[in-house]
Amino acid sequence: MEIVIEFIGDFLQFIGGRCLECKDAGGNIEMVYIVILSIILGIQVIESVPTVLHTPLMSGANAIHGVVVVGAIIVMGKADPDNYVALILGFLAVVLGTVNVVGGFVVTDRMLDMFKKKPAKKD
């Protein structure tokens, strides 16, 4: 029971309170707004996609979640220069994240290259 109350307290603090790892006092409630609005946006954006574009779109979305590389850069930048485990792991994370971003966008671009000519050809 105590754990439940503690959890609810944490949860409320989390939603209405300060951000997790703060520089300034920023309400998490803003984050919650962003999460909910982003979910709705994501749904809206995808809903009316023709089947033809499913693969490029999946690939494009795949590139966008490569934004996780930003987190890897932050981890890497904060790592103690003597902590080799963190440095090596962080380096690996930056490489993997960058491959995700660059590879993702280039592959999507190649896929979409093939659609580009079609409408022009019809004229």
């Binding site: 944490d10 989390f14 520089k23 984050m31 962003i34 982003s38 946006l41 994501g42 749904i43 954006v45 009316s48 023709p50 033809v52 574009l53 499913h54 693969t55 490029p56 999946m58 494009g60 979305a61 795949n62 590139a63 966008i64 979640h65 934004v67 996780v68 590389v69 930003v70 987190g71 890897a72 850069i73 932050i74 981890v75 890497m76 930048g77 904060k78 792991l89 962080g90 380096f91 994370a93 930056v94 490489v95 993997l96 960058t98 491959v99 971003v101 660059v102 590879g103 993702g104 280039v106 592959v107 999507t108 671009d109 190649r110 979409l112 093939m114 659609f115 580009k116 409408p119 050809k121």
Partner: protein
């Protein structure tokens, strides 16, 4: 200080660019620019982070001892980005159009691994600090669990699509095992986040958690086969999105948060859309309803000796030449054989002789939705010749010859007629309505779903065995000779 504001504005611009980019990607005309917009957003977010991100250094008591420190280790960061850029660019440029699905899966796995590693590096800072709240720890561990599951799952999906792992391996009681693994991982995550595990043994348990998540990722994708593969990739894609969003929560980083959540929700909807296209529920995909049913159906099929007719390229050339309407049904076999150019040549010859030629595109033909469109677009097949399932199905009855090229499950009448079939209920292309159906396959082997196809034994069907590219090349030369 001013740098902080510029950083936040840069993240805002990046987020707006992702959203517009994604939106533009849902229309063929603007898709290419949309991708560039999203890429520009990503570039802004990365450059802004490296140059402008600052943090406060705290001592063990939690007091700030230095404010506004810029990120260090820039050489390492720069080197990592340089290597990643070269690797990613080379991989993306070298890959064959037919291998796109596994490449997407591979990139997805790398993003997942990146998210998991971030959690692994960050957790010691928080786990050993008694002031860390339950939710901050939960955020970190959830990033590790989801990221590593996505990584392991994507690697298995990659190996399967790449043909290194052809069989759908089903360990005994895999559903029980998988469910057990999820429960164990979730339970352990909650125990760790709740601080119920002593600080001295936290590290070991986090690595056990990592192991559990990796094992779950492997076991989750291993038994999944058939047309379900695209759904799995899309699902893992949204997993990685969520893992990135958890990272955004941890750092209060808006670019990561919006990007991650956007992909998480868009990926989930895309997954549902794909499931609907196949008339399958997501839970049926995950819990592997393809399993036992498929094996049973195939066994029944093998029991009866059924006969089929065979045809040759020269016979088919004559048949096609005197048809008035031909519909081509491309499938994965066409992609494997790299026959997209020769099929376009066939189409051009037939069109020049007054035959109406169309392509019937099933939503899940190939290994990903839209796979066939991408492939045929590569060989300059005109966009409006590719007709989607709903629009082409009524046309089969007015068509003389249907040429099925390496497609199997998407034309299997069992989906309509046999309630015991594992693919029952999946919408299919009604090729059996046509006057003649010619099916090109390499052999009589079953398709990816592992079930027999009654279509091959129908009176109006005939088989044309061989590699799609070779057979079509013969067909083209026979046609030219006519």
């Amino acid at each position: 200080m001013i740098g902080d504001y510029i950083l936040e504005i840069a993240y805002l611009i990046a987020s707006v660019l992702y959203i517009f980019g994604l939106k533009m990607m849902s229309d063929p005309k603007t898709a290419k620019n949309g991708n560039l917009w999203a890429a520009a957003g990503m570039f802004i977010a990365i450059v802004a982070t490296i140059t402008l991100y600052t943090y406060d250094i705290k001592n063990d008591a939690g007091e700030i001892i230095e404010k506004g420190v810029h990120l260090g280790n820039k050489l390492w960061i720069g080197g990592g980005i340089a290597i990643g850029t070269i690797l990613g660019y080379m991989m993306a440029k070298k890959v064959q159009m037919t291998d796109m699905p596994q490449m997407v899966s591979l990139f997805n796995g790398m993003g997942g691994a990146c998210a998991a590693i971030i959690g692994l590096i960050e957790f010691p800072h928080y786990a050993h600090n008694p002031d860390s709240s339950f939710l901050i720890l939960l955020t970190i561990y959830a990033g590790v669990v989801i990221g590593s599951t996505s990584f392991a799952g994507s690697m298995i999906a990659f190996l399967k699509l790449n043909g290194n792992l052809n069989k759908d391996i089903r360990l005994p009681f895999y559903n029980v095992m998988n469910t057990g693994l999820i429960i164990a991982a979730v339970g352990l995550t909650i125990c760790l986040a709740g601080g119920h595990i002593g600080t001295e043994s936290v590290d070991i348990w986090v690595y056990i958690l990592l192991g559990l998540s990796l094992a779950y990722g492997v076991l989750f994708v291993l038994p999944i086969g058939g047309a379900d593969m695209p759904v799995v990739i899309s699902l893992l894609n949204s997993f990685t999105g969520m893992a990135a969003a958890f990272g955004g929560f941890l750092y209060g980083n808006m670019a990561m948060l919006t990007g991650g959540i956007l992909v998480g929700s868009a990926g989930t909807i895309l997954t549902v859309v794909m499931c609907n296209a196949m008339n399958r529920s997501l839970s049926a995909v995950i819990f592997g309803a393809f399993g036992t049913g498929g094996v049973a159906a195939a066994a029944v099929g093998d029991g009866k000796q059924k006969s089929y007719k065979q045809t040759s390229p020269s016979d088919l050339a004559v048949l096609l030449n005197y048809s008035s309407k031909v519909i081509i049904v491309p499938g994965y076999g066409l992609a494997v054989a790299q026959a997209q150019h020769v099929v376009h040549e066939l189409e051009s010859i037939l069109t020049s002789r007054g035959v109406e030629v169309k392509y019937a595109i099933h939503p899940v033909a190939g290994r990903m939705p839209g796979h066939m469109n991408v492939l045929l677009a590569e060989s300059n097949v005109e966009y409006d010749k590719l007709v989607e399932m709903e629009d082409i199905n009524p046309e089969f009855s007015t068509c003389d010859v249907v040429l099925v090229l390496g497609a199997n499950d998407v034309v299997n009448p069992a989906a309509k007629e046999d309630p015991s079939s594992p693919i029952y209920g999946m919408p299919i292309l009604n090729v059996e309505d046509a006057k003649h159906t010619v099916i090109n396959k390499r052999s009589m082997n079953v398709g990816y779903a592992g079930i027999d196809n009654d279509l091959f034994y129908r009176d109006k069907s005939s088989m044309l065995f061989g590699d799609a590219k070779k057979v079509l090349a013969e067909l083209v030369s026979e046609l030219k000779a006519l």
